[in-house]
């Protein structure tokens, strides 16, 4: 157990180091530095340009800039974002909790729903319930999150106006509403983006859950449980599920990086002002420090979440062999 945790921490650190270094190398290729837009006009005296560049170390050779950059990164300083007129860390500190909220809610609902659907399928294996849920979950896996998001946006948002089409909360006098109304308003804005992501998660989880349960149901201790006279649901819930949930968690961990990628697109579609939307705004503004910092941070979230899932999978079901 301790070995697994240490292993996962080292692995996560290696991933972050590799991605951080690649991000720095990319920054070197990016045309212009953060001051190019404001200082490289013909009417700016050369001394002023040189002074600002020297103050932030842009006149140093690449090796020294790298150590400087890595040192600043270790202190959580990610540079200056010209498009937002703020430091990158301030921009991301505002955006990250919103992304974590979106992904967290989607994961929690999606996982619970997926396990439930998988249980239903295993309970009614081979019958119409199994087939209907199977077709739905296949559709849910086959349709990428952002396409489901576009469909939801088109009908539930733009056409029928059941849900808001952008933002964290309603504009205007909403700030003066009572506390619980503001909370409901937030939930109403969160419903579509989180719901779409949750459906994608649920479809993936259900497919794995069904397969894992059907595997476990072949085993002898299940026959023992049934011959004791336990009901089918009790057998599933008390005996099969605990033995089938570990592999499902591990596979969910494998799917997390693509979930983070999907969340970025979902934010763009639903105007949810988290890291994804920040990233795309930065892309439009060609704000390289912000683009690369947002990429780095999103990667770190994916890596840490994956490491955590692996550890949780080990805690939940320590005996099973897992494909990692």
């Amino acid at each position: 157990m301790t070995r697994l945790i240490l292993n996962r921490i080292l692995q996560a650190a290696a991933v972050i180091a590799v991605v951080a270094t690649s991000v720095f190398v990319l920054l070197q290729f990016a045309p212009g530095d953060p001051f190019a837009a404001s200082l490289d006009g013909t009417d700016v005296p050369p001394g002023v340009r040189a002074e600002w560049r020297a103050r932030y170390g842009f006149d140093l050779p690449p090796a020294q800039r790298f150590t400087r950059w890595a040192g600043a990164l270790a202190h959580g300083q990610l540079g200056y974002a010209p498009s937002q007129h703020r430091v990158v860390s301030a921009v991301l500190a505002e955006a990250m909790p919103r992304t974590l909220l979106l992904i967290g809610v989607a994961l929690a609902i999606g996982f619970a729903l997926g396990v439930l659907l998988g249980l239903l399928q295993a309970r009614h294996h081979g019958r119409w319930q199994d087939r209907v849920i199977g077709a739905l979950t296949l559709g849910g896996v086959a349709m990428p999150e952002f396409l489901l998001g576009l469909l939801a946006m088109t009908w539930l948002g733009a056409r029928w106006r059941l849900f808001p089409v952008a933002g964290l909360a309603s504009e205007g006098d909403a700030a003066a509403w009572p506390m619980w109304e503001r909370l409901l308003d937030h939930l109403w804005h969160l419903a579509l983006p989180a719901g779409v992501l949750a459906i994608s998660v649920a479809a993936r989880v259900a497919r794995h859950q069904r397969a894992a349960l059907l595997g476990v149901l072949q085993e002898d201790f299940i026959r023992t449980a049934r011959s004791k006279g336990l009901g089918e649901w009790t057998t599933l819930w008390r005996h099969a599920l605990p033995n089938a949930i570990g592999p499902v968690l591990a596979l969910l961990g494998l799917a997390l990086p693509s979930l983070v990628g999907g969340a970025v697109l979902i934010e763009k579609i639903f105007g949810w002002p988290g890291m994804g939307l920040t990233l795309f705004d930065a892309l439009l503004a060609r704000d390289y420090p912000l683009i690369l910092a947002a990429t780095l941070l999103a990667t770190i979230i994916a890596v840490v979440a994956r490491a955590l899932t692996d550890v949780v999978a080990e805690l939940v079901a320590p005996r099973r062999e897992r494909p990692v």
Partner: protein, 280 residues
Amino acid sequence: MAARTWNRLLHDRPARVAAAVLAGAALAALLAPLISPFDPALQPDPVALRLVAPSWQHPLGTDPYSRDVLSRMLHGARISLGVAAGAMLLSATLGTALGALAAVVGGWADAVVSGLVDILIAVPRLLIIVALVATFGALSPWWLVVLLGGSGWLTTARIVRAELRDHLHREYVLAARALGATDWRITWQHLLPAVAPQVAVAAALALAAVIPLEAALSFVGLGVQPPLASWGNILLDGADYLTSAWWLVVFPVAAITCTVGAALILADRLRAAIGGERAP
């Protein structure tokens, strides 16, 4: 052994339907220049023919630039499926080669390949490609193939490595070795044909992963650039007209979902066919 797996797959109805869907999509892509009713880039009348709903003249409607959506879907299939197929071939080749290297050579090669897989598999592909494209500017479809294929070999390598390590200790390999066959010959003549079904599963899954990635990149304007059509950038053209032009969303979504679903079913059934072979 592998031959029986292929045979079992050939007689599996869902697998045949899925293969037919993929073959149909590929055929439509190949024949696009012959069967498209219009030139996909032509803007015949951006005022009168703008955002025309599906009709006999334009079965899938027109886009904001008056271009025929059916023609763009067919030509877009060439790009979207071409990029996906190219990336799939690249990742299957890379994954098989590196997985075999890790399993057969072992030692340092195994350490390097496995370490690389463990690191890269935790990184969201979409984000890395977005950062690359943002820095270097828009890419040609060929570069998309390289980026998507070059980042998609991890699962294939992992599967091939695990399968080959299992096969290395089987009697037929020991027999071949006793007869004096080299590692190279054993790998090429015996091991790779034996794991071909598993490679095909990984390739089908790679295809199912790459089609949405290309669509996503083109949808945010970082993938296939206009006037070239792809399923993703037809969606991008429609994103501003969600309330008025449903056909710009529904048809690309349906095309992407059907091809991805077919690839997933094929991978599923193939896996079942392999499993059936192992059962006593």
